[in-house]
């Protein structure tokens, strides 16, 4: 698996000096992670060079095309409405459940002890479009470890803010509010799982799930819950909102899988935002199979969709 060094990247792929610099930081971080024995994060490049480089999407694309039903069901509504009404400070994150040190954290206190990393990941929506996003954030496991989860904690449940005054879309029951998501403990502890606080070196815009969101790049985007207010350790598989809303269409695991179609549309390929003249073949686990497939060895991924 090839990781291209910065001077291999043609200038046409450099969107922003900031991105260029952050890629070097990312490589340094990846190098450090590799030294610690964890497989390097193949965020920008897969094994196959011949096909299709993963160019990061532009700030405009990432921040104006959003599924965030708390602010309406049109893709352009979150960008229009969220910045107006979402108050990202003060922000409290509660970590509780089956853990030794449950606590309420002020957002800044939660983040301060950690070094913000740059992670450029593919994000694949279940609607069959995708983007490449240069996230800034901290590994989820580093945050979870602060609460010292008990051995009985087999799952982690996440909750989004519930406040129809700040989130006008919550005035309609288009989904069961508040938005809930969950991960199995090993998934949550995986080095790829990220708590993102920024994009392109800037703080997360409201429409992208400010101030704190999850990024689980090997799963469909709806797993990457936004504007998190609670992280709860539990021994039972958490309910997740899209599964509650349409159990036959959205599962709990939601691993990106070109071989398991959505009941109403195919998952075999996807529209990479910014690319007009081709569709990409969807990759198992969104191209992160090397790093994550082992967690699902022996699982029937058609039944556990």
């Amino acid at each position: 698996m090839l990781i291209r060094k910065p001077d291999d990247i043609p200038s046409s792929e450099i969107t922003d000096e900031k991105v260029y610099l952050s890629r070097r930081q990312w490589l340094a971080a990846a190098g450090a992670v590799a030294l610690s024995g964890v497989p390097a994060l193949a965020a920008c490049q897969d094994g196959d060079d011949d096909a299709q480089p993963d160019k990061p999407n532009t700030w405009e694309q990432i921040t104006t095309y959003n599924n965030f039903y708390e602010f309406g069901t049109d893709k352009e509504e979150p960008a229009r409405l969220a910045p107006r009404s979402l108050r990202t400070r003060p922000w409290t994150v509660v970590m509780d459940g089956l853990c030794r040190k449950p606590a309420r954290y002020n957002f800044d206190d939660l983040i301060r002890p950690h070094r913000i990393q740059d992670r450029t990941y593919r994000l694949r929506c279940v609607e069959a479009w995708s983007m490449v996003v240069p996230w800034n954030g901290i590994p989820l496991r580093d945050v979870l470890r602060r609460a010292e989860p008990l051995p009985s904690a087999r799952f982690v449940e996440f909750t989004t803010l519930l406040d129809p005054n700040q989130m006008p879309g919550q005035r309609r029951a288009v989904l069961d509010w508040p938005y809930l998501e969950g991960l199995r403990m090993d998934e949550a502890m995986h080095p790829l799982a990220l708590l993102a606080t920024g994009i392109y070196g800037k703080p997360l815009p409201a429409q992208n799930g400010a101030p704190l969101r999850l990024v689980v790049p090997w799963k469909y985007g709806f797993k990457s819950i936004k504007s998190i207010v609670r992280i709860r350790f539990t021994d039972r598989q958490p309910r997740n909102t899209w599964n509650v809303s349409a159990p036959g269409e959205y599962g709990f695991y939601a691993n990106v899988n070109p071989r398991v179609d959505h009941p109403r549309w195919s998952q075999a390929n996807e529209r990479r935002i910014g690319e007009l003249f081709r569709r990409r073949a969807t990759l198992p686990f969104n191209g992160y199979a090397d790093q994550v497939a082992s967690m699902y060895a022996g699982m029937d991924l058609r039944r556990n969709y």
């Binding site: 999407n57 352009e76 349409a246 109403r264 549309w265 195919s266 390929n269 529209r271």
Partner: protein, 220 residues
Amino acid sequence: MAFRPSPRAERILNRLVKPAVWIGGLWPLALVVVAVVTGTISANPLEDVTDRTGKAVIILLMVTLAVSPVRRLSGWNGVIAARRPLGLFAFFYACLHFLIYLFDHTFSWGLIVEDVVEHPYVTAGFAALLILAALAVTSTKGWIRRLGKGWQKLHRLVYLAAGLGVIHFLWAVKKDLREPLVYAAVFAVLMAFRLPLLQKKRKKTEIRARPPVERDAPAV
């Protein structure tokens, strides 16, 4: 409920029909072009244009289906001249909608056939398109003459096409059914106008001695 326009008003309205239909019919296309040129189209332009053209089809079909009820309620006969161009505009946007869909799927015929066959919302949309094509082709005066009474029966398929369009929209939407349900409600109301009429019409066509010319085409 009828508000008959005066003969003078009717003359003015009759002159306005065709220009109004053309402006209304080209309006969705103009909006798309403006959005693309000014960069207000979404980050997923193919999806955006697909949605906009699809919406244009369904709106135009509903307006087309509203023509006969308007004529009956108002007594303004001249409105019937709007029906054919409105229907043809609906077909025009249906073709655009389909073309963008093909482009969005990179003209991969294998995938497209599979999509039409395996995914009911695509099947419904494609069936609606085929019906609209048949209606567009037979919309001319020549065909009205050629088909005689059969023309009426054939063109009642517009109800099926509109219904399939509503179903296509309902099944395509991810979760928010609000908008398609509005069109479903409008469709139901417009179809309600057809129920008592179907009985009256049998008597009308028995009396009629000559084949219907467009201006005298029975309210459908």
